[in-house]
């Protein structure tokens, strides 16, 4: 692999890594939101029950 090929691959990998990182961050955020919805549902259920 020539130096040019390595640098071009690196530039495209940076963009690809950014998209993947964004997906990971959004997945973490969705997990947190799902947990919060679960907690709120539990709270609402307790209110309705008692």
């Amino acid at each position: 692999m020539s130096a040019s090929e390595k640098y071009v691959a690196a530039a495209y990998l940076v963009v690809f890594a950014f998209v993947l990182l964004y997906v990971v961050i959004m997945a973490l955020k969705l997990t947190r939101l799902e947990r919060q919805v679960g907690e709120l549902t539990e709270l609402a259920r307790r209110r309705a029950g008692g």
């Binding site: 071009v8 495209y12 998209v19 959004m26 709120l40």
Partner: protein, 229 residues
């Protein structure tokens, strides 16, 4: 617009971005001819320039939303402005990284302070990076909305300066592809560039909508928690 498309704008936009990105990569490596002067390293151009233009578009969109905050007090425009600027900073960082890699191959250095285009883009990037320091140092409310909107509008002035800097530059190390005589490249190269630009704009649009959705959901959950507490 069909009902399905209206109800699934974000997945449709994300799907479009994925298709365009894959098409752009295929065109870059299998269709666009290799540049006679720069060789393979010129392939970085097809992502680097669209990413930079997308960053400008995000900052411009953020400024437009900021103007709506000040002018019409549009509900939610402050959040939209913030998310657009956040996207702009991300795309700005990618511009600097891919540009540095390209500079290393073409000029032998990662960065040069003598190029007005590079320095002005860095100034624009740092200016909008500081937006977050301002935003998170003021409590949420109308005062923060006004301050952030004014700051976002000031920043947008730097965009045309940064965009035109390359033409004002006297050294011309940074290549000038788009001149008053049109794009200085072959039809195949220009077509590839256009697909890559559409891909980056679609990607930024999809990420903008996803982030906006998650932030709105977060705010509604916080409100619901307060109501149930």
């Amino acid at each position: 617009m069909s009902t399905w498309l209206r109800n699934n704008q974000v997945p449709a936009l994300a799907g479009l971005a994925a298709v365009l990105l894959c098409s752009a990569i295929a065109l870059v490596f299998f269709y666009a001819p290799e540049d006679a002067d720069q060789g393979l390293s010129q392939k970085i151009f097809y992502f680097h320039v669209p990413i930079a233009l997308t960053a400008y578009a995000c900052f411009g969109w953020g400024a437009w939303k900021a103007l709506l905050v000040l002018w019409k007090r549009t509900s939610g425009a402050d959040l939209e402005s913030y998310v657009a600027i956040h996207q702009g900073v991300i795309f700005g960082a990618l511009t600097l990284i891919t540009g540095s890699i390209w500079a290393k191959i073409s000029w032998g250095v990662w960065w040069t302070w003598s190029e007005k285009q590079l320095v002005l883009f860095l100034v624009l990037f740092l200016f909008y990076s500081a937006y977050f320091m301002l935003r998170f140092s003021v409590e949420a409310g109308p005062q923060r909305e006004n301050l952030c909107a004014v700051y976002a509008l000031f920043g947008v002035v730097l965009i045309p300066v940064s965009f035109l800097a390359i033409r004002l530059s006297q050294r011309f190390i940074h290549p000038t592809v788009f001149t008053s005589r049109g794009p200085q490249m072959s039809t195949a190269q220009f077509a590839t560039f256009c697909v890559a630009l559409a891909a980056m704009i679609a990607l930024a649009g999809a990420l903008y909508r996803v982030e906006l959705l998650s932030k709105r959901l977060d705010a509604r959950l916080r409100e619901l928690r307060e109501l149930l507490a």
